[in-house]
C-alpha cells in the first residue's frame, strides 16, 4: 500500500491539487436515539438521494450523475485522498457519522413477498468491484411495521456465490432513511451494516433476499457501501474537524466518481437540525 508522506501532502497543497467545499444537511425525518439513519436521504446540499430505480435491479451511484458530497473531479492516474472532514451542528449532538462511498443500491425490495426475491446484477458495481470491504446497508424507503426478520444471499469478496447472512431483525422505527436492521435491544439487531457469513469480509453483489414469516408492509433498498472514514459531533458547542494527516496518520483514498454521503447514529430526532461542515481533498 502506498504511503503518502508530509512532503507529498505539502506539495499537493502548494500546487493546488486540492478541492474544498462546504456542505449542509437539514433532515426532515424524525429519527430515533441509537438507531442508524442514512443522511443521504435528507434535504440540503448535496441534494437527497431517494433510492429511485427499477425494483431489485442494481442501480449505481456516481458523483457525475447523482452528486453526493462534492470531492472534486476525477484525478486518475493520480490518487485522491481525504485530507480534512469537518462537521458541526448547533442542534444535533452527540452524533456519530460515517463517510461512505455509496456504490449503488437495489431499490424497492418488497417486504410483503415471502418467497425468495432474486435481484438483477446486469449493471456492474462502479467501484471496488472485488467487493473487499464492501458492506450491505438496508435502508427503509417505505415504512414497515417491524418485528419480522429477513436474510440475504450474496456473492462474497472472493467471488463465491450463495453466501448467506445470518437472520436480521426489522426494527419498528419506520421513517424513510432508517437502517431497518438497527432495531435496538432486539435479537438479531445488527447495524448499520448487515452481518456476513463467517469468514467473509465483503460483498460483490447481492443475489437474493428472503423476508421470513408473514413479511411486512414496507419497502427497503439495500445499498452497497464502502466506509471511507468516521467522524463525530461530540457537542453542539464544538466543531469536530478531522485532519487525516495530522490526526489519523493516514489519508483515506477516494475513488474517481465516488458518491460520498453520510450515515449517522443520532441521539434523538434530527428533524430540523442543521448539520454542516466542509471537506478538503487532495490528489498526489
Amino acid at each position: 500500500m502506498t504511503v503518502y508522506g508530509a512532503k507529498q501532502i505539502a506539495d499537493a497543497e502548494r500546487d493546488g491539487f486540492t478541492f474544498f467545499s462546504g456542505w449542509r444537511k437539514q433532515p426532515t425525518q424524525t429519527t430515533g436515539a441509537g438507531i442508524w439513519f442514512d443522511l443521504s436521504m435528507s434535504p440540503g446540499n448535496p441534494v437527497p438521494n431517494y433510492y429511485i430505480g427499477s425494483p431489485g435491479v442494481f442501480t449505481p451511484l456516481r458523483q457525475s450523475t447523482d452528486g453526493g458530497i462534492p470531492h472534486g473531479g476525477n484525478v486518475s492516474p493520480k490518487t485522491k485522498l481525504l485530507r480534512v472532514f469537518e462537521i458541526q451542528s448547533a442542534n444535533a449532538a452527540p452524533l456519530s457519522v460515517k463517510i461512505l462511498d455509496y456504490l449503488g443500491f437495489y431499490p424497492f425490495l418488497d417486504e410483503s413477498i415471502v418467497d425468495e426475491q432474486f435481484l438483477t446484477n446486469s449493471t456492474p458495481v462502479p467501484r471496488y468491484p472485488d467487493g473487499a470491504g464492501v458492506m450491505m446497508m438496508p435502508v427503509v424507503v417505505a415504512g414497515q411495521i417491524g418485528g419480522g426478520t429477513f436474510f440475504v444471499r450474496y456473492t462474497n469478496q472472493d467471488g463465491v456465490a450463495e453466501r448467506q447472512t445470518p437472520q436480521h431483525a426489522m426494527g419498528t422505527q419506520a421513517v424513510n432513511g432508517t437502517i431497518i436492521t438497527s432495531a435496538g435491544a432486539v435479537k438479531n439487531s445488527r447495524a448499520p451494516f448487515m452481518a456476513l457469513q463467517e469468514g467473509d469480509t465483503g460483498v460483490r453483489t447481492v443475489d437474493s433476499i428472503v423476508f421470513e414469516g408473514i413479511g411486512d408492509i414496507g419497502l427497503i433498498s439495500i445499498a452497497l457501501v464502502k466506509v471511507i472514514a468516521e467522524s463525530y459531533i461530540r457537542d453542539t458547542t464544538a466543531p469536530h474537524e478531522r485532519d487525516f494527516s495530522m490526526d489519523m496518520g493516514s489519508l483515506p483514498i477516494i475513488k474517481d466518481d465516488a458518491y460520498l454521503n453520510l450515515l449517522g447514529l443520532p441521539n434523538g430526532s434530527l428533524s430540523g437540525a442543521p448539520i454542516m461542515g466542509y471537506i478538503k481533498t487532495l490528489w498526489v
Binding site: G16, R24, P43, N45, Q63, S89, P239, M246, P274
Partner: protein, 375 residues
C-alpha cells in the same frame, strides 16, 4: 526566507516581525443571510468598510487586485451632479460606480463616498447613488475612485516570507452561529454587466495575476455587485488550466452551477440547496489544479438585470469554524500540515462564509489574524 522551525518563529516574534490585525464585518444591511449559502464578506460593512473595488472597472475586462490597487469611474464631462445626498450620473463616462467609491470633482465635499445604489447600476445614464455628505453640485465631471480595502496583514516584507500564524472569529449576536469562514487572497476579478446575454462572452485583455502567476490553486467564484434579477441560468466558465491547456470547461455533471434568483450583493450566486449548487468555488474540470486565465463565461438564460463579478482567489489555509454564539473559533496554523500558509506581498485578504443558519442583517463578526515573518 521562511520560518522553518519553532526557534525561527520565536525569534521572529521576539524581533517584532509580526502583525496582528483585528477587523469586523457586519453582514449585509438589507438581506439576511440564508442558511446553506456562501457569502463574500468583503461586500459587508464594518471595520473594514464595504469593498468598492470588486465589480468596478470595465465590463468583461480582467482587473488585477493588490492592496494598492485603485480603479476609477467617471461621469461624462459636466454630466455629474449631487443634490442633497443623491449623486446623479446623468451621462455615464467610463468605468463602473460602486458602493464605497470616493467621489471627487469641482465642488464635491471632501470625503464624499457612495453608500448605496439608487437607480444606478454602475454605468447607466441617469443612474442615482446615495452619498454620505449632503451637498449641492451641478454640472460637473465627477470621478469615483475605488481603493483596495482588504484585511491588513503587515505590509510588504520581501525578501522575507510572511506567514499566517493564527486566525479567530467571534460573534455575540443572536443567530450568528453555526457557520464557518474561509480566508482567501483575492487576486483579481472580471466585472460582468452584460447579464442578459446567453452567448459565450469573451473576456477582454490580458490576464496576468499579481500573485500565484502560474495559476496553481487559483479558483473563481461569482458574486453580484448589483442585486441580480429573476433569472436562474446555468453558468459555465471556459478557462485555461495551470498546465496551459485551454478550453477547460466548468463540468456539466451532475449539473452546471445554477444562479439564484434575485441574489443580493456579496452572495456566491450559485451556492445554496438543491441541484446545481456548489461553493465556494466554481467546479473545475477533472484533475485541474487551478485557473491560469478565463476566456469566456456563458449563461444559459438571461439574469434579467443586475451585475456580477467573477472573482479569482486562492484559499489560505483551512477554515475557521464558529459553532456557538460568544465562543470564539480559532485556527492555529502553526500546528498544521503544511504549517503556516504564506501570505504574499500585496495580498488582498478577505473571508468567505458559509451561513449555517439565517443570520440576521447587520450581524457583526469580529476577526483577528496574526502574521509573522523572518528577516
Amino acid at each position: 526566507m521562511s520560518i522553518n522551525s519553532k526557534d525561527d518563529l520565536d525569534a521572529a516574534l521576539a524581533a517584532g516581525q509580526t502583525w496582528v490585525e483585528s477587523s469586523s464585518k457586519n453582514l449585509h444591511s438589507v438581506t439576511a443571510q440564508a442558511a446553506g449559502i456562501w457569502y463574500d464578506l468583503s461586500k459587508g460593512a464594518g471595520m473594514l468598510s464595504w469593498d468598492a473595488l470588486i465589480g468596478s472597472g470595465t465590463n468583461l475586462t480582467f482587473q488585477p487586485v493588490s492592496d494598492s490597487t485603485t480603479t476609477t469611474a467617471t461621469t461624462a464631462a459636466t454630466s455629474g451632479s449631487i443634490s442633497g445626498t443623491t449623486f446623479t450620473d446623468t451621462t455615464h463616462g467610463t468605468g463602473r460606480f460602486t458602493i464605497g467609491q470616493k467621489l471627487t470633482g469641482t465642488g464635491v465635499t471632501a470625503n464624499t463616498f457612495i453608500t448605496a445604489l439608487g437607480t444606478g447600476t454602475g454605468r447607466n445614464n441617469g443612474g442615482t447613488y446615495t452619498v454620505n455628505n449632503s451637498q449641492t453640485v451641478t454640472s460637473q465631471t465627477i470621478t469615483g475612485t475605488a481603493t483596495a480595502n482588504f484585511i491588513k496583514h503587515g505590509g510588504n516584507v520581501t525578501p522575507a516570507v510572511k506567514q499566517l500564524l493564527n486566525a479567530s472569529v467571534v460573534s455575540a449576536a443572536a443567530t450568528s452561529a453555526p457557520t464557518f469562514f474561509q480566508l482567501v487572497d483575492i487576486i483579481g476579478f472580471i466585472p460582468v454587466d452584460t447579464v442578459t446575454l446567453t452567448t459565450a462572452q469573451t473576456i477582454l485583455g490580458s490576464q496576468t495575476y499579481p500573485r500565484y502567476a502560474n495559476g496553481k490553486g487559483v479558483k473563481a467564484y461569482i458574486t453580484p455587485v448589483v442585486v441580480m434579477g429573476a433569472g436562474t441560468p446555468t453558468l459555465q466558465l471556459n478557462y485555461t488550466n495551470p498546465s496551459s491547456v485551454a478550453g477547460r470547461l466548468t463540468p456539466p455533471f451532475p449539473s452546471l452551477p445554477i444562479a439564484n434568483a434575485t441574489a443580493p450583493v456579496g452572495q456566491i450566486v450559485y451556492s445554496g440547496t438543491g441541484a446545481g449548487k456548489y461553493g465556494p468555488g466554481m467546479p473545475l474540470a477533472a484533475g485541474d489544479n487551478g485557473i491560469l486565465s478565463i476566456q469566456s463565461i456563458q449563461q444559459s438564460a438571461t439574469m434579467t438585470s443586475g451585475a456580477y463579478a467573477i472573482v479569482l482567489y486562492k484559499e489560505i489555509g483551512l477554515p475557521v469554524p464558529l459553532t456557538t454564539i460568544a465562543v470564539p473559533g480559532e485556527r492555529d496554523f502553526f500546528n498544521q500540515l503544511p504549517s503556516m500558509p504564506v501570505i504574499p506581498d500585496g495580498a488582498c485578504l478577505s473571508w468567505l462564509q458559509l451561513a449555517g443558519a439565517i443570520h440576521p442583517v447587520n450581524t457583526p463578526y469580529n476577526f483577528t489574524l496574526k502574521t509573522v515573518w523572518k528577516n
